[in-house]
Amino acid sequence: MSLAMPSPDTDLALWLEQQTDKSLLRFMTCGSVDDGKSTLIGRLLYDSQLILDDQLASLKKESHNRTVGDEGIDFSLLVDGLSAEREQGITIDVAYRFFSTDKRKFIVADTPGHEQYTRNMATGASNAELALVLVDARKGVLTQTRRHSFILSLVGVKHVVLVVNKIDLVDYDQAVFDRIEAEFRAFAEPLGFKTLAAVPVSALRGDNILAPSARTEWFQGSALVPYLETIAVAEDRTGSPFRFPVQWVNRPNLDFRGFSGTLASGAIGVGDEVLIAASRKPARISRIVTMDGDLDRAIAGQAVTLVLDREVDISRGDVLSRPGETPEYSNQFQARLIWMNDEPAFQGRSYLLKLGTQLVPATITDLKFRTNVNTLEQTAATKIDLNEVATVTIATDRPIAFDPYAANALTGGFILIDRLTNATLGAGTIEFGLRRAQNLTYQSFDVNRQVRARLKGQAPQIVWFTGLSGSGKSTVANLLEKRLTAEGRHCYILDGDNVRHGLNRDLGFTEAARVENIRRVAEVARLMADAGLIVLVSFISPFEKERRLAREIAGDIAFTEVYVDTPLEVAESRDPKGLYAKARRGEITNFTGIDSPFETPQNPEITLNGATQSPEILADKLYGFLKF
């Protein structure tokens, strides 16, 4: 496998051309903890002579007190790069390694086996064309083997090699290998991999790595490296429909306006007609610009700058395609979602969705079912926890252009981002667009909110009170309503307790139920304000995300967040309904302030100090603040 080294006699130009002409295979290793993933990669690097003298010396020093092969080296030390990993002897995050043979260049992602690091495994898998699934010959197919295989299929890895490692420890027994292979094939059958090969190896001893091992004469297949060198994995992305997500508008001066980006798929030539997905406006390609000179044609994977023959409004996030083979353009789709955050996902909560160069607010509108990653069993769910996979419906605030993930990974995969912390929360693959959103347009009536508001002589709005139970929200809202009504204005109070008796009586107090509770109340408040009312909402609404959701649902209706800031001790001492006492006795659970948190509002329009001032003064203050 060794890379042919150039010697003084080599024709260097030819040798360099061979180096630049090689194809590239991006693969990953996965499997359970201690199956020897890192050892296998270390072996590949060692055998391809990529471990250099100084690295070898420091490795031998570090290999003391560890399991070593004939070479006296613990190969896993090569890839476990973080201190915590070396200390604990486990892999936490993906490590990328590089090696090369005469036939191919390889980028290997070594991914963690531990369930808690599944998100890092998905990171590695999302850019891999092939995966090695390692199994310890003594242990066979484990839960983690199944989970990883499922995630591979979810992220769209099409080619799999089952590597039955540590075959030396079962005396190179064919029966063991056959049994594991049969079990894995049965499990993987519904996952739809394009190719699946199995090979018995010992990463530590080097059996069936570079060449067939004499110790497994019963094995008829190819050794691992020759297999990786020859397998055809290249997807013909150039043959797919043309997709060009605009990344950056290139405008050096008034005479040049180009659209920079990378062809996600397909090919395009000068003179070809293109269509902008959002506006459906047509244009023709007049130039394909690169620093190396203009091109006549560009293909999938090339980063270019396109110039069009006419002025059309295009910005980052737009997708160019050919007429007749346009991507879907919708604000609703069904997707599979893998959740990567400690805080679970809930139906109704708002996130940022990034797909290609498009970034939009989005909501999980329907959590259809959760798939048990170990058994593939589907069960109903109200939330998605860390490392869980679910099938969901997602609605975006405005339509986006996409393809099903199976047709195009680059225009069908997306990530969800937390709107407060900006953390990456999950990743999704689109199954299909839901067209009903396109057909369902809002009825626009002649009598609109403005007309109704004029009739009532007031500015319809939502005043959203948040604060602990017993903080004084309802008292202040009540005083304000009395005053407004006395002035002849039309108001309505939506109160947490009252709504729970009717509209929301099916909801409990879990986090998922609270999200839905808020969503419904916010929708009702919006309808009432649309009808011309001043809506006072008195809801504990303890989570910043839900308050933000309520604000978003309000849309263009004036929304005032009123934080009634009363410390827990004061609210608890009032305890008008005796609820704090019950919560303290443990008779009710998930009670805000006691065993469920209250997140202090970050940007309320107004804060009322409920501990030091009387409800009358607070109501006056609020009255003065609002505009009617």
Binding site: G81, L82, A122, A303
Partner: protein
């Protein structure tokens, strides 16, 4: 490069260009680290390609420790003049006032003050929300674990155990106030890729990479070039002219030369392929202790 023949170098080039454009499109105040080395030269070339015919839409930042090779500084100024990019040079003036140098204060204290601290000063002063660097995953074990878009908290620290998942080429570029991003467009390149790309694209590099007769002293097996009179010589120590070159460039007192006759690119590539030591071996700061790069990165080093 020949269009329409998608070799692995073309694929790497396109990937890097896409990353650079993503930075320009997503951040308000990006900056590109310019270390003058070969990786920086490749990065600069890629940035020119990414935005052509526009100019590079962000400044280049060089952290000058005052102990860089003189030829590096000359090359830097020549290159800036030729391509007309916006160059910012920052030196830790506190360190200069205190006379911090690698001889009296040790390599790790010197590096901390003149490189890590200096970098933080420069990033804070410019209020940059993204800093582009030329690090590669094949260089070192903790680098192999780093994301392409690598998140930094408000004190520029890296949390290796809690990195954002990074799927496909969909990069999460969102930040909270005070946070920043380090971006590594050539993460997936190897040293050989860098050299073959420099060869194929005829990219200018600092002449120190090519073998020439240079004055050196040998200290514990490492050849140090006597670039100016600040290098203290031990009693009896006499610089001698040797045919040497550098595989990596940094501060001259901390960068070991190798004996070599490779005076042009093809010979360098051939010599590199035949060599059996890794690139960072010539850097004295990495070998202080196991995991030292990870520690430095957590503190804000690039």
């Amino acid at each position: 490069m020949t269009p329409l023949r998608r070799t692995h170098l073309q694929a790497l080039e396109a990937e890097s260009i896409e990353i650079l454009r993503e930075v320009a499109a997503s951040f308000e105040r990006p900056v590109m680290m310019y270390s003058i080395g070969k990786d920086s030269s490749v990065l600069l070339h890629l940035a020119r390609k990414a935005f052509y015919p526009s100019k590079i839409p962000f400044p280049l930042l060089h952290v000058d420790t005052t102990f860089k090779f003189r030829e590096m500084i000359a090359f830097r100024d020549r290159t800036a003049a030729e391509y007309g990019f916006d160059l910012i040079v920052h030196t830790n003036q506190d360190g200069v006032r205190e006379g911090i140098n690698p001889f009296d204060h040790g390599s790790s204290r010197y590096t901390d003050i003149m490189k890590t601290q200096a970098l933080r000063q420069a990033l804070n002063a410019g209020q940059y929300d993204a800093a582009i660097g030329g690090a590669r995953r094949d260089e070192e074990k903790s680098r192999a674990k780093e994301r392409v878009f690598s998140h930094r908290n408000a004190s520029h620290a890296w949390d290796p155990k809690n990195q954002r998942p990074e799927l496909w080429r969909t990069f999460n570029t969102r930040l909270n106030p005070g946070e920043s991003m380090r971006v590594f467009p050539i993460s997936n390149w190897t040293e050989l890729d860098v050299w073959t790309y420099i060869y194929a694209e005829k990219i200018p590099i600092v002449p120190l990479y090519f073998a020439r007769r240079r004055p050196v002293v040998e200290r514990s097996g490492t050849l140090i070039m006597v670039d100016d009179e600040r290098l203290p010589l031990a009693p009896g120590e006499e610089p001698r002219e040797e045919m040497v070159r550098f595989r990596t460039l940094g501060c001259y007192p901390l960068t070991g030369a190798i004996r070599s006759d490779a005076a042009d690119l093809p010979s360098i590539i051939m010599e590199m392929q035949a060599s059996r030591t890794s690139e960072r071996e010539g850097r004295l700061i990495d070998s202080d202790s196991v995991g030292s790069m990870e520690k430095k990165k957590q503190e804000g080093y690039f």
